[in-house]
C-alpha cells in the first residue's frame, strides 16, 4: 500500500447528454510509485476519462480516487486546483504551453504558482532545461518551435516541481514517429533514472512497447492489466 501512488475504487463516470454514457464503468485499480504505466484501448474506450479522473480534472459519478491516500473525489474545486499544482504534472496532446510566455517562463509557471523562492526556482528550471536539452529554445515562444519541442517543454514543466505522478494524455498523438519515439524515450529515461511515475494513455504500439505495465480498456471497463 505504501508504494501505491494512485488507487481507484469502484469508480464510475457517467456523462449525461441526450443519452447516458458510462465512460468509466466501475473501475478499481492502482498505480505503483515509480512505474511507467500505459492505459490502452480503442477510441471511446474511456482512456482520457480515466486519466482525467486520476488527475482530478473531472469528478467521478461514484467511487473514490486516492492520490497518495487522499480521496480527491471529495475535494472542492479550489482544493483540487491546489492539489493538482503540488502533486500532479500534466502533458496533453497539444497546445500544452501558454503562448505568450517563453519556454523558460512556461517551465517556471508551476513554481511561481507554488511560490518557490527565486534562487531555488532558477536552479530547478536551469537543471530541467539542461537535462532535457532545451537550452537553445528557452527564450523562444511556443509557437516558434516544433510540436516535438513543445511536448518536451511540456514534460519539463510537468516534472519541474517533482510531483507525485505525471499524467500524459496521448502525448504523441500529434507527433511524427521520430518525435514520438524521442518523447517516449525521454519519459522512459526520466522514469528509470529519477523514479518519476508516469501514467500515459495511448493506442500507439510504439508507446505500449515502452510501458512497464499496460491497462487495457473497452467500454469503460478494464479488460486486461491493473
Amino acid at each position: 500500500m505504501e508504494n501505491t501512488v494512485i488507487r481507484l475504487k469502484e469508480v464510475v463516470k457517467i456523462y449525461d447528454g441526450e443519452y447516458k454514457v458510462a465512460a468509466v464503468n466501475g473501475i478499481s485499480m492502482s498505480v505503483e510509485r515509480g512505474s511507467f504505466s500505459c492505459i490502452a484501448g480503442p477510441s471511446g474506450s474511456g482512456k482520457t476519462s480515466l486519466l482525467n479522473l486520476m488527475g482530478g480534472l473531472d469528478k467521478p459519478t461514484s467511487g473514490d480516487v486516492f492520490i497518495e491516500d487522499k480521496n480527491i473525489a471529495k475535494f472542492s474545486r479550489t482544493k483540487l486546483s491546489d492539489f493538482r499544482l503540488k502533486k500532479l504534472g500534466f502533458v496533453f496532446q497539444e497546445l500544452n504551453l501558454i503562448p505568450v510566455l517563453t519556454i523558460r517562463e512556461n517551465i517556471e509557471f508551476p513554481l511561481l504558482l507554488q511560490g518557490w523562492d527565486e534562487t531555488r526556482k532558477k536552479k530547478a528550471v536551469n537543471d530541467i532545461i539542461e537535462e532535457l536539452g532545451l537550452e537553445k529554445l528557452s527564450e523562444r515562444r511556443p509557437l516558434s518551435i516544433s510540436g516535438g519541442q513543445q511536448q518536451r517543454a511540456a514534460v519539463a514543466r510537468a516534472i519541474v516541481s517533482n510531483p507525485a505522478v505525471i499524467l500524459a494524455d496521448e502525448p504523441t498523438a500529434n507527433l511524427d514517429s521520430g518525435n514520438a519515439r524521442s518523447l517516449i524515450g525521454l519519459m522512459n529515461r526520466l522514469n528509470r533514472e529519477k523514479g518519476i511515475t508516469f501514467v500515459l494513455s495511448s493506442h500507439d504500439e510504439m508507446v505500449l512497447k515502452e510501458a512497464g505495465s499496460i491497462i487495457y480498456l473497452r467500454d469503460g471497463k478494464i479488460i486486461q492489466g491493473a
Binding site: 474545486r77 486546483s81 497546445l95 505568450v100 517562463e105 511561481l112 504558482l113
Partner: protein, 411 residues
C-alpha cells in the same frame, strides 16, 4: 511574484492580437475624448451664460427693499449708505445704483410699454456692459445738458420707428400717485444681445429718474459686480450682516435668475446621460473584445486550470488585461482630447450656427470656448477605466469557471 506573472501574461495578451486591442483602445480613446471635450464645452457654455447674465444687467448681487424682486413697484425703494454697506469689502469690483420702473414710451409715430432704468452713467460703465453695447449714437453723459438723454434697446428703437436724436416721452406714476412724465432725447441705441432687454429697456440718468418719480435720493436697487463668481456667497453674507433683514433683501444671481440655475442643472443632467451612454458603449466594446479573446483561448485557460491555476488568478489575469486596454484607451483619449481642446481653444464653437436664439443666454459673442476642469478629466478617465475593467468581470468569471476537461478539448 505570482501576480507579476499574471500581469505579464495579461500585458502580452494585449499585444498578442494587436489589431483587436487597437480597436478596443481606439473606442475607449474616442469615448474619453468625447467626454472631456463635451464636458469642457458644457462648462464653457455655462460659464459664458452666467457671465453674460451677470454682465449684461443682473450683476452678481442685487440689493433692494424687501419684496422688490418679487413685486417691483415704485413704492419699494430705499436710501442706501454705500459707505456703510460696502466699506472694507474688497471682493466688490463695481457697484451701481438704479431706479427701475415701468412706463409708457411714446414717440410721434408710436408708443409702447417699457422698463425704464435710471442709472449712474459712470458707475454703470464698470458694473455692466451697457456702454459697450451702444450700437449707434453716444453713451449717457453726466453734464446738465445730457441729463435728458436716454438710451433705448435696438428692437424698441425699431418698433417705435424712431430716429436718432428724436424725442421719447416717458409716462409713469410718481411715488405720490401723481402722473409723472418727462421727455428724453434718444442719444444712443443699444444691442445687448438679450432680446428681452433690447425689446423693452430704456436707460436714463439716475437723477432724472429720481426727479421724475419724486424719489429724492432713494433708489430701487444697487447692483454689485464682484471680482470672481466664487466670491458671491461670502460677500452676500457680509452685506446681509450690515442691513436690516426685515427691510432690505440681498440677493445673489442664482436667487435673481433661478431659470439660469435650472437650465444649467438640466444641462448637467444631459451631460450625465451622455457620460453614461459613452461609458456603456466603451464597456460593451471592451467586453466584446474580451469575450472574443477568451473564446479563442479556451484551451489555454483549461491547461492553466489543469496545472493548478486558481479561478481567482484567472479572473485577475483577465481583469488586468482589460485594465491595460482601458489604460491605453485613457492615454489615447488624453492625447486626442488635448488636440481637440487646442482646436476649440483657438476657434471656439459658434452656437449661433445651431440656434439663432442662443444670444439670449450667452450674449452677442456666440462662440463658446472650452473650460478644462481637472476634476472633470479625472472623473471621465475614471469612468472609462472603471467601465472597461469592471465589465470584463463577466468574461473573466466565464474563463475562470469553465469546465477544465471541456476547455482542454476545445481546440
Amino acid at each position: 511574484m505570482t501576480d507579476k506573472t499574471f500581469i505579464l501574461i495579461a500585458w502580452r495578451n494585449v499585444r498578442r492580437n494587436g489589431r483587436r486591442s487597437f480597436l478596443a483602445v481606439l473606442i475607449a480613446s474616442i469615448g474619453l475624448t468625447t467626454l472631456i471635450i463635451s464636458n469642457s464645452l458644457y462648462d464653457g457654455f455655462h460659464e459664458k451664460m452666467i457671465e453674460n447674465a451677470v454682465r449684461i444687467y443682473m450683476g452678481h448681487i442685487q440689493i433692494h427693499e424687501k419684496g422688490f424682486h418679487q413685486n417691483p413697484t415704485i413704492d419699494k425703494r430705499f436710501e442706501p449708505s454705500e459707505e456703510h454697506l460696502f466699506n472694507g469689502i474688497k471682493t466688490i469690483r463695481a457697484s451701481s445704483r438704479r431706479v427701475k420702473f415701468q412706463a409708457m414710451a411714446s414717440t410721434a409715430a408710436s408708443s409702447q410699454a417699457v422698463i425704464a432704468i435710471g442709472i449712474e452713467p459712470e458707475k454703470e460703465k464698470e458694473a455692466s456692459i451697457l456702454k459697450g453695447s451702444v450700437l449707434s449714437g453716444d453713451y449717457l453723459g453726466t453734464s446738465e445738458e445730457e441729463s435728458r438723454d436716454c438710451l433705448v434697446g435696438e428692437y424698441l428703437f425699431n418698433n417705435l420707428r424712431m430716429e436718432a436724436g428724436e424725442k421719447l416721452v416717458l409716462v409713469s406714476q410718481a411715488v405720490d400717485g401723481s402722473l409723472a412724465a418727462d421727455a428724453f432725447r434718444v442719444a444712443g441705441v443699444c444691442r445687448t444681445g438679450n432680446p428681452d432687454i433690447d425689446r423693452s429697456f430704456v436707460w436714463i440718468p439716475l437723477s432724472s429718474a429720481q426727479e421724475m418719480l419724486g424719489y429724492g435720493n432713494s433708489v430701487s436697487e444697487i447692483v454689485l459686480l464682484l471680482n470672481r463668481a466664487a466670491d458671491v456667497e461670502h460677500t452676500q453674507k457680509k452685506i446681509k450682516q450690515r442691513v436690516d433683514a426685515e427691510k432690505i433683501e440681498v440677493l445673489n444671481w442664482q436667487e435673481i435668475a433661478p431659470d439660469i440655475v435650472q437650465l444649467i442643472a438640466l444641462d448637467i443632467a444631459m451631460q450625465r446621460i451622455l457620460m453614461t451612454v459613452i461609458a456603456v458603449i466603451v464597456a460593451v466594446a471592451i467586453m466584446n473584445v474580451m469575450m472574443m479573446s477568451i473564446q479563442e483561448r479556451f484551451t489555454e485557460f483549461g491547461i492553466m486550470s489543469a496545472i493548478g491555476t486558481r479561478p481567482g488568478q484567472i479572473v485577475m489575469m483577465v481583469l488586468w488585461e482589460s485594465f491595460f486596454l482601458g489604460i491605453l484607451g485613457v492615454a489615447g483619449g488624453l492625447i486626442l482630447s488635448s488636440a481637440g481642446l487646442v482646436f476649440f481653444y483657438l476657434h471656439g464653437v459658434n452656437l449661433a450656427s445651431f440656434s439663432a436664439g442662443v444670444t439670449k443666454f450667452i450674449g452677442l459673442d456666440t462662440r463658446v470656448f472650452p473650460i478644462l476642469k481637472s476634476q472633470q478629466v479625472i472623473i471621465s478617465a475614471f469612468i472609462v477605466l472603471a467601465s472597461s475593467t469592471l465589465i470584463s468581470l463577466f468574461p473573466a468569471l466565464r474563463a475562470a469557471h469553465m469546465d477544465t476537461v471541456k476547455a482542454i478539448r476545445h481546440i
